[in-house]
């Protein structure tokens, strides 16, 4: 018996044409699995924000999603530049996005706060010059 589905996506920096690909692919799969719409929504929102952050702020990286009957785990690992002050970055409204990105409708500084809000477990680690890892979990209540 297979108890888990493991999915891996590469994220290219600055490729806005493909931004959101991983989260919509995951969303499609969760619907195929028959996951409750509320759970799908929580995963889709938090994963999309994380994916966009990797596209805008990082030098690229990998998204791994592990789906089991109990939970959906998302691990987003990028190759830098890292975040200097995580507490500051987590504040609603804080953003370092430049004007050209803001013109695309990003940069409200709401991504990280929303990831924390919509996931059931949220953890972020970052080392300047090395990279950032975000781990999130959304739990699936027993049927």
């Amino acid at each position: 018996m297979n108890e888990k589905i493991v999915l891996r996506y590469e994220v290219d920096p600055n490729d806005f044409t493909r931004a959101g690909e991983a989260s919509s692919n995951v969303k499609r799969r969760l619907k195929l699995l028959g996951v409750d719409p509320d759970i799908v929504r929580k995963v889709a929102i938090s994963l999309y924000e994380g994916e966009i952050n990797m596209v805008i702020h990082s030098y690229g990286g990998i998204i791994e999603v592990i789906i089991s009957p109990e939970e959906i785990e998302m691990i987003l690992t990028d190759k830098g530049p890292g975040i200097e002050d995580i507490e500051l970055a987590m504040q609603a409204g804080y953003s370092t996005a430049p004007d050209n990105i803001r013109n695309l409708g990003f940069g409200a500084g709401m991504g990280l706060p929303n990831m924390k809000k919509y996931s059931d477990e949220f953890n972020i680690e970052s080392t300047v010059g090395v990279g950032t890892t975000v781990k999130m979990k959304v739990f699936i209540p027993k049927e």
Binding site: N2, L32, R41, A44, I45, I67, S68, P69
Partner: protein, 427 residues
């Protein structure tokens, strides 16, 4: 009536088993098996794309014959606004309406007139329900069905108000009963439709308990019948029209949203575009949008598969026709109208779900992945499924087998013949 009713059907004798339709279907609802296409009913949303693409005209829409009028003592025609866009140099809607009466209808009730009432109700609903923004239009049954099976998180945003045609049907019936004193069953409410989706909406309505429409006629069939009567009508036009610019505008894309008198809306048409917008809406990519108008057909209802005119020309014609009309002619406070809010819940129907529960589904999805490694990934369609992935899903659903992939079959045959020749040599 089966659980899933659809009004797109296959004429088996015309189907050549090509792969045009399976590739075009936006919900991957068609397969070719044993050389003939067939539609997986629970996936079909009646968008009519397969009817448009089929080069052999093997896909057809079901609708009623005009003979249905004989079943009733008194018939009321409900012309969709898109009908007015089908004719050249039409400068007065009344010519069409008069012709409908000459054709045998006892009365007409314009869907565009009910549309103006729906517009008024929508304006109020949108203003009072900011938590439901963006409110998504529900006039196109294909879009509503699509949301019901594929976008559960958007169901709450659906405008819970009758589609204009359904409100028109109720109002027309009440009016006819009052004027004729006939019982309801002797009155025929007949819709002249641009699309087969409306046929489905009558048979299995969403949001309302029962449709008041008794018959659905195809616009393309009524069109040639109407022309001679229109010529005759020109000299003695009855003043029957009861709709203005807003109502008639509903016939093409942007009309419904434009009637809300706000700029804060989005209007998308064409099923692929609609799906893209829904995906993005689901990800909450549009903020502070009040209203979203979606039409499955390119151009809006003027692009329905049962119309005759090129949708873009029809749109121009509607625009010309509207130009000299008042903004709106039907109003809630002057018109007698039924209450038009949905009475039924719209439950999510996860028709694409792989397994009965999460464990089973995960198992099946893992199998799909395994199969995907075996398949060549060409999406060639020779197996009868639109993509390798669709075949893999069919296999785990138990309705197809690996050897349906001709590439796997070929390898299998090679292996077999190799073994046979080795066997021969040994002898």
């Amino acid at each position: 009536m089966s659980e899933f009713f659809t009004s797109v059907l296959l004429k088996k004798e015309l189907c050549k088993g090509c792969i045009n339709c399976i590739k075009r279907c936006p919900t991957q609802a068609i397969r070719v098996r044993d050389g003939k296409a067939f539609i997986i009913k629970e996936f079909c949303i009646d968008c009519g794309e397969c009817i448009r693409i089929c080069p052999h005209h093997a896909k057809v829409a079901t609708y009623d014959s005009p003979d249905i009028m004989k079943k009733f003592e008194y018939n009321v025609a409900l012309p969709a606004p898109s009908l007015y866009g089908q004719f050249n140099n039409l400068d007065d809607v009344n010519i069409v309406l008069t012709a409908l009466k000459k054709m045998g209808f006892d009365d007409v009730y314009e869907v565009s007139s009910a549309a103006e009432l729906v517009s008024e109700m929508t304006r109020k609903y949108v203003a009072e329900n900011e938590d439901k923004w963006p409110v998504i239009s529900t006039a196109c049954p294909t879009v509503v069905r699509l949301i019901q099976i594929r976008f559960p998180n958007l169901i709450d945003h659906l405008l819970p108000i009758y589609a204009p045609v359904d409100l028109a049907a109720i109002n027309a019936r009440n009016k006819a009963m009052k004027e004729t004193n006939l019982p309801s069953e002797k009155i025929g409410i007949i819709f002249i439709s641009p699309c087969p989706a409306k046929v489905t909406a009558v048979k299995s309505p969403i949001g309302i308990k029962k449709s008041e429409i008794d018959g659905v006629l195809a616009m393309k069939e009524i069109y040639p019948m109407l022309l001679p009567y229109m010529k005759e009508s020109v000299n003695k036009v009855e003043d029957l029209g009861k709709s203005g610019r807003i109502g008639i505008g509903w016939g093409s894309t942007g009309g419904e949203a434009g009637a809300l008198l706000t700029d804060n809306y989005l209007a998308a048409d064409g099923i692929e575009n609609v799906i893209r917008v829904l995906e993005d809406l689901e990800d909450q990519k549009f903020e502070r949008l009040e209203f979203v108008e979606l039409n499955a057909c390119a151009g809006g209802c003027v692009g329905g598969v049962l119309t005759v005119e090129n949708p873009y020309l029809a749109k121009v014609k509607l625009k010309r026709l509207r130009k000299y009309l008042p903004v709106a002619c039907s109003h809630l406070d002057t018109e007698e109208s039924a209450d038009a809010f949905w009475t039924e819940d719209v439950p999510y129907e996860p028709v694409f779900k792989l397994g009965k529960n999460m464990r089973e589904s995960i198992n099946k999805m893992a199998k799909v992945e395994e199969l995907m490694h075996k398949f060549p990934g060409l999406d060639c369609g020779s197996c009868g499924a639109p993509t390798c992935k669709a075949l893999a899903e069919d296999i785990v659903r138990g309705v197809a087998k690996e050897e349906d992939c001709i590439h796997i079959l070929r390898d299998y045959i090679h292996k077999l013949s190799d073994e046979l020749s080795r066997f021969d040599k040994k002898k």
